[in-house]
Symmetry: none
């Protein structure tokens, strides 16, 4: 329905995602409540506020579903497989011709000529060791039966592999089992496809496994690789197709750039990795797009570390820089997170995420601050994440009337 | 989706249902607002609060849909037929082989050998009279064509009948019309099935009606029985299957025990019928289950009677006993109702029902009391009843992350 109402104009929408911003109280105050945020407070007072639910009540989202929701896509409809997320996280581009897979280096012993797993993580080899081994594979396996093979090292024993076929693959081609049996003392599984297309993918994967075993046979620890999460690129419309928005992404970490590229956002390249560097990049492209996704990672990282004080500091740092964002005078600015990451939980959580939307068409004057509890008082209420885009489009007058 | 995220652990979830707890103001105060509840107030201050909508906006639920919702099942998807509810309410066990029916004793006159209804309720015979008549039927009809016949007396002219077939019945076997024509001066209807399986059921019912007419032919008032609400046991997953919970029920009234047993809860037997007796029973089985459904009936009974003061008293009685519940230190405690029963309406109503959830992972500090108006300020918002289970599972850390 929404897509039939889309009308383009010259307004600018800025979506700031403070990753994992929502929190829980420590000594009575959440991270947002503890932070000294005069600029956010001032903005909150004149904004529409509320909270959003990333996926469903009680459901803790991964980064994939968390971002799809705030980009306006139903995370229950569009699923991002583990292999795709892993590849995106390592900065690999994924295409409609690809099957992406997560690889875990492992240690096997050969008994009667058959590999038997003795360590599913190859003794958690160092990332440096991983790089050396991955380079060895890269050098020796460029393609298999006309399918291009790409591999990137991750942290410790992790890597991502892309099987790039000559033609786009039909849906369901990624229905291949993990070759990791999830226990030691047994042989790795063979890849098997649940349908003829997936079987073709599985055969390439099995040949890849054979070659890797040969290449790594003399390695003391990482002498095998286990494959998990075979996944194709999800067939998501772009922000242009779905919402008529020319969108760009300003982010530091590859995974978020990857998620943005899945919905057709252009990735802005820039020097540095601080919030200031990001804002500078934003300013440099302000004339060129309609929609700007600005991703700030550290709120989540410190939440995951259980570092309450550091999360508070990042919020305060963002607050100090907020005036320079507002100088751009976006027609609509939204500030929220992709999910909550309370430092007391040291991880993502299910809690609704504070949301602020400012434009000249809001009520405002409902919340004193941008905090979990103050946002409960706001005019937005508690809404599904995928509905945020409706409000951004409406507030930028990009939606025509529905019905006569 | 939820079922794919379930992970078991050793946490304990206590769901206290104050039946019909929601109310409306009398002299400005609802029953909850009028009640002196220092313990509930204290708990509310440190809890997540909100309200739930049992079925849909504006829809007044019966006890069946009211409870299914708070047990986590969509009351629009799983329907409990009148016959099943009647049988459960009279403490009869219902099985997959059964069709349960509500029976109303009636008075007929025979004109040209055909029965014509003159009183659809047999002059509202006394419950005692009902028991005598029902015993007579029970004694004389044990089975018909291999189908076991069970009958239990209810209040006044009401009874419940179970046709217990030798094998489980296919869905739709209960599609049989009421034999009550809903008016006097006409003959009772014959039972007819809408499909071959239902036709088989209808034939047993018609033979039953014939036999009952013969047995009761000399009764002055209750000389006939009208059948309504043919129903099979709904095919609902158990709490174990749906949510990975080992659940038990502590309730006094048969209907609530019956509803709990429909979703596979174990029924705890105990002496007495006071709230204190129930809490004692709860404590005695605390080590044996994950999920405890504690049902308190009197709030609803007094609401139905229009007895505002008595409903207030039950709330105060519960409040006095709350500390002994909290002594159990449940990981999650939820307090709510299955629906509202405002004493001014003397019946169930459509109003959202106050809801409180306490765990170590809530914001809290949003509501001063556990009342309809204070719960509006809370972090839960107004949610569908069937989503409560999501929050109970999340707060007990029984849901894994969705998506990577």
């Amino acid at each position: 329905m929404l897509s039939s109402l889309i009308q383009r104009n010259n307004t600018k929408i800025l979506l700031v995602v403070l990753d994992g911003i929502g929190g829980l109280p420590v000594n009575g105050l959440t991270e947002l409540e503890k932070a000294n945020t005069p600029n956010l407070d001032r903005l909150a007072k004149t904004s529409a506020t509320g909270l959003h639910i990333p996926v469903d009540y009680g459901v803790t989202p991964g980064s994939g579903p968390g971002h799809l929701g705030i980009f306006g896509f139903d995370p229950l409809e569009y699923k991002i497989g583990r292999g795709i997320l892993e590849a995106l996280g390592l900065g690999m581009e994924v295409k409609a011709t690809d099957v992406a897979i997560r690889g875990n280096y492992a240690t096997v012993e050969y008994r009667d000529g058959k590999p038997v797993i003795v360590d599913r993580r190859a003794g958690r080899i160092s990332t440096e060791e991983n790089r050396r081994i991955t380079a060895k594979i890269k050098e020796n396996i460029k393609e298999i039966d006309g399918v291009q093979i790409l591999i990137s090292p991750g942290m410790e024993h992790r890597s991502a592999i892309i099987l790039r076929f000559p033609e786009p693959l039909p849906p369901g081609s990624d229905e291949v089992n993990d070759t990791d049996p999830q226990k030691v003392g047994v042989s790795p599984l063979s890849a098997e496809g649940k349908n003829p297309n997936a079987q073709e993918v599985a055969e390439i994967a099995n040949k890849f496994l054979e070659k890797v075993a040969e290449i790594l046979k003399d390695e003391p620890k990482a002498n095998y690789i286990l494959l998990r999460g075979f996944a194709q690129k999800p067939d998501i419309p772009s922000m242009r197709e779905a919402f008529g928005l020319e969108a760009c992404c300003i982010a530091v970490y590859p995974m978020y750039k990857g998620l943005a590229s899945l919905v057709g956002m252009e990735l802005i390249e820039f020097e540095g990795s601080s919030i200031e560097d990001e804002i500078k990049a934003l300013k440099s492209v302000w004339e060129s797009y309609d929609f700007f996704f600005l991703h700030i990672k550290k709120t989540d990282s410190y939440g995951e570390d259980g570092n309450y004080e550091a999360k508070v500091s990042v919020i305060e740092e963002f607050d100090r820089l907020l005036p320079s964002l507002l100088e751009l005078k976006p027609d609509v600015i939204a500030i929220t997170g992709d999910h909550s990451t309370p430092s007391v939980l040291k991880g993502h959580s299910w809690h609704p995420v504070p949301l602020l939307i400012h434009s000249q068409y809001v009520l405002g004057n409902t919340s004193e601050r941008f905090t979990e509890r103050e946002c409960l008082k706001g005019e937005i209420g508690i809404i599904p994440a995928k509905k945020i885009i409706n409000l951004l489009l409406a507030n930028s007058l990009r939606l025509s009337k529905f019905g006569a």
